[in-house]
Symmetry: C3
Subunit: 443 residues, 3 copies
């Protein structure tokens, strides 16, 4: 009992943090924003270098070009020095230096004069969003192209143009960052985010900066029950590479996982379930949304589009969910230059931070609890119950008894919250009181 009582108040509590954390995350995003990232290369390495300044113990790994990873192969690195389009008069009417979205990712080099008609075939724009530069890549099929706001398309209607892309490809490395915060057990909570997008903010700098903030918060806590694994990877090829090295260990140790993406705006709340649909991660997500009275949209796995495609693939089967704000594909700024530092806000980031803190706290406290007594305990002599029998009041005393009454069938904290259908923080406070009084045991 002594041992149990001294552990009553685990270090992880879901207190809401102040705005300071939100401003800090937004500032990190601002510093990371200008870097020209792609799935491999210097952009990723600069980003990982920034992250390692914030996170002690971050390890940077590399997987060489050509390495076979499941059904895939690590591609070459793509280097781009400059890229522009000039008109016949020598006016530079589009320049990669002004926005790194202007060039299709992994474009092959070109230096040629071509007609407007030919150029048209190489331009990507969005008629419905005339100010937006779209984000386009072509990793696995060699081509070149430029991305332009649709309102500028008129400039490319006639004449000849000088198109220049000084790019090249070389064998190199796929890099990713990994931080492991050891806990009391080697069971793990897995948190993944991706760092392969050039200058965009919600998708995707919001994910990495939230991951940094969560990792720093966890690192500052005293007794972690679970081990926490954070990874910062390029999307798809990175998760495939990471899984090819680690999936058996992960499959045996991960009890819950979160894919951090699109967590910085204030427009909506979204939830992408795991393939299981009722894993611990799924359940804490739904509980926290409910306690916080947040209206959210639950998506079907048919709408999946981020690294859960790999984490939840049959045979991998990690219990990974995403708690997003505006989900990728669903907001008009998605994958364009309009997904910028104004679209994400300190408050949006902070709210996501607090949501995830709530989830992690619940997971840490998700023990099985059982009453220490057979039959109701005598709450009266412990000053936990009214001493006269007047008409029944639905007081905390009653809630304490109800909570103990439903501690059966191996119910854990999550089961009890779901059964009693009350806010999780209130249930946690009751459990702490019962543990303190020695009236329940934790298994």
């Amino acid at each position: 009992m002594t041992d149990q009582i001294k552990r009553i108040d685990p270090m992880i509590t879901s207190q809401v943090s102040d705005m300071h954390v939100g401003y800090e995350m937004h500032d990190w995003a601002k510093q990371l924003f200008p870097i020209n990232r792609s799935i491999l290369g210097d952009g990723i390495r600069k980003t990982l270098s920034f992250i390692s300044e914030k996170l002690d113990g971050l390890k940077i790994h590399e997987v060489p070009t050509g390495k076979k990873i499941f059904d895939w192969e690590v591609p070459q690195e793509w280097i781009i020095e400059e890229a522009y389009i000039e008109d016949a008069a020598g006016n530079r009417i589009l320049d990669f230096n002004e926005c790194n979205l202007h060039v299709v990712g992994y474009s092959v080099p070109i230096d040629a004069w071509i007609s407007a008609k030919e150029l048209q075939k190489r331009l990507y724009s969005i008629p419905d969003s005339p100010n937006a530069i779209p984000y386009v890549t072509s990793y696995y099929s060699r081509r070149w192209g430029f991305c332009v706001p649709h309102k500028l398309m008129s400039r490319f209607q006639k004449g000849n143009f000088h198109v220049v892309i000084k790019s090249n490809f070389k064998d190199g490395f796929l890099n990713y960052g990994e931080l492991i915060l050891k806990g009391e057990t080697d069971q793990e909570v897995f948190i993944s985010t991706y760092i392969c997008h050039p200058s965009m903010a919600n998708n995707e700098l919001s994910g990495p900066v939230l991951a940094i903030a969560l990792a720093r918060w966890l690192a500052s806590q005293r007794n972690r029950r679970y081990t926490y694994r954070f990874i910062f990877i390029p999307e798809t090829i990175g998760s495939i590479a990471y899984l090819s090295r680690n999936y058996i260990y992960l499959r045996d140790h991960v009890i819950a996982g979160f894919n951090l993406t699109c967590v910085g705006d204030e427009r909506a709340y979204s939830y992408m379930p795991s393939a299981n649909g009722n894993s611990i991660a799924d359940r804490v997500a739904r509980i926290v949304y409910k306690t916080r009275h947040i209206n959210y949209k639950e998506y079907s796995l048919l709408e999946r589009g981020s690294d859960e495609r790999q984490y939840c693939w049959p045979g991998i089967d990690l219990p990974v969910v995403s708690l997003m704000r505006s989900k990728y594909w669903t907001y008009p700024e998605y994958h364009t230059s309009l997904d910028d530092l104004d679209f994400i806000t300190p408050k949006g980031l902070l709210d996501s931070f607090n949501l995830h803190i709530d989830c992690l706290s619940l997971i840490e406290k998700n023990y099985t609890y059982i009453p220490a007594t057979l039959c109701e305990p005598n709450l009266g002599r412990r000053k936990m119950y009214p001493t006269t029998s007047t008409l029944i009041e639905k007081t905390k005393s009653r809630d304490l008894l109800d909570l103990m009454f439903f501690m059966r069938n191996g119910r854990t904290l999550l089961d009890l919250i779901e059964t009693l259908d009350k806010p999780h923080d209130y249930i946690i406070s009751l459990i702490d009181e019962l543990l303190g009084a020695g009236l329940i045991l934790r298994k």
Copy 2:
């Protein structure tokens, strides 16, 4: 087969009894009404003495003061000789002899002159029910007090008063009665009721008088399949004491249980499920209500308030339900002097009696049945089917075949009633006919 056929007609049949039983129960309640009961003491002993006159074989047990029972301790007995309040002129304006609800249960002794202001703190009344004397106890915290109809509160507004409670406490015994009616097996049906309330009728004399009637009816039957255990206890402390002595045996032998409380009025029907929610007791309760076309309110275990709090506590887990009329807490007369012999009626008691008889009969017949033939039997040659094939009629012949058709997957009588969704007495009559014809077997 011989053995099986001779057992076709078990002794327990659900024939509706005549009003005589209702009047008898009401008369017993009338005789028990004046006794001043509390959780321990002479009131309980007088009550048990009355019950043992009606029930051959009732054993009266005792548990001494100070005995530890799970998280509790058996308290001292409370003896009260007299109690009253006099005004300055010597007028006795409230007297325990007129109604034993006037004194807070387990009041400590007092003999003093106090001001109206001081007295106010010691008075309990119900502003919304000005004629009712409330029922208040303070078993586990020593205090004193009086209970008065709110309409009399004006008499205590000014002046000084002489308050007298001649009570004392002494080591003694917690008493309870127990009757065991042996059946063919040592599996048990458990029936509990409580006898710790002073002069009130629905809660609680209705429970004990129904228990007496049910026990007498069972004792008069020839072949009981199950053993029946009746206990008459003080509420809460009594069920805890009883369980501390018997819970392991009960856990291993009780297949269904009924907590008899609030079974005497005609105003409503109520059902409190067991913690399992789908035990045999729960299922017969719902079936019987349905067959009898009774509208009833099913309560949540969050509304539990009687001894099911202990019987269904995790680790005890007895399958105990309550089939009540107006549930405790829900009727305005509850726990007041208005819950009197007019509130309960012979008809109300009789209807509860018949409901419980139905439940017990169903439990007795709840065997697994299987067809004795592979493929449909030839009902025609047994004169159980029309001999010409004209248009199909939904006759009893068809019901016989349907009933046999669904005798699969280990279905018991309760399963068959639920599957076919027909009145339980009709299904029982079909089963008796099929058993008689040797067309089905009972396991």
Copy 3:
């Protein structure tokens, strides 16, 4: 893998057949229509002889009169030479030779003059359907009678009548036909239909002619995965006789069964589930109806009335369903002379044929499938995916990935169709494509 790929395209495909098959079935029904069938006798033998001309390998079995079969006994054969009613003037006002429904099946012989009043007791008609001759039998109780259109009842109001039935009974045989088409495994699909009705068309010649067509189609296919067993029996007594000889083998080998009855009209679609309710046969039935956008009525087993009464009897438990058009009992022509060759149509028969072909094809392809890769495969390098990342399109590429994503938890083809809720033929085409690309495995 080689072995797996070469099996990609199983022989059974659900291509819709042309009307030719419908006309062929209707023509067979026309040829079989005039035969006077009963549960035993020459009518059945003539019918089986016709069927064996169409089906190579059909074996005709016999069970002798008096043979005990479960709770029943094979009856005698009933021979009828002629039957008529004459009025006092010698006018033959009703003659068996004009319609074999005119005589109650299994009528005992009679040759007598009786009064109109006596005759009335022996006449069966349907007041609500004055043109219909009802179909009446009395197999297990010896009596005699005539069936007449209600509009002719006025002719039997007064005078005396000469009633003649030249029938007799003799020991003989219950005959049935059985065709077994061997497949790769000895697991079986069981198809039963009955041939005991005299001149009626939907119930029942539609069943036998559909069974012939299905058997011929299956016999023409190259590689059958499953073995197919067709039986042509008299209803009830025939299925009981058949089961008494074969039920243990069937119980161990039948994975799905279809009872063919009432499959020839165009008025409705009906579905009688198996007792299990979710067997493979049930699931393919519901899937095929859904893919074909067919509104159908699902009946309860309480409405069962054909040989599923025996096949689904507890202890027999064959997973047999019926996919009917207008179900027996539900259409006014049922069991009357109005259920004739106009009531069934080539199109009605063909639609039933195609429905059953779809079901059988699905069963043949109902393997468990799993992805051959861990993580998503690289569809791009296989030219199965768009090569640039623009806005997501819900293309076939996406469906291919979705399909693989849900290949988990041992899901079979049926599970996948149900999970993705898309037409079964589309899912099958995707699976064939994935098998062809080596991206999934079949177990």
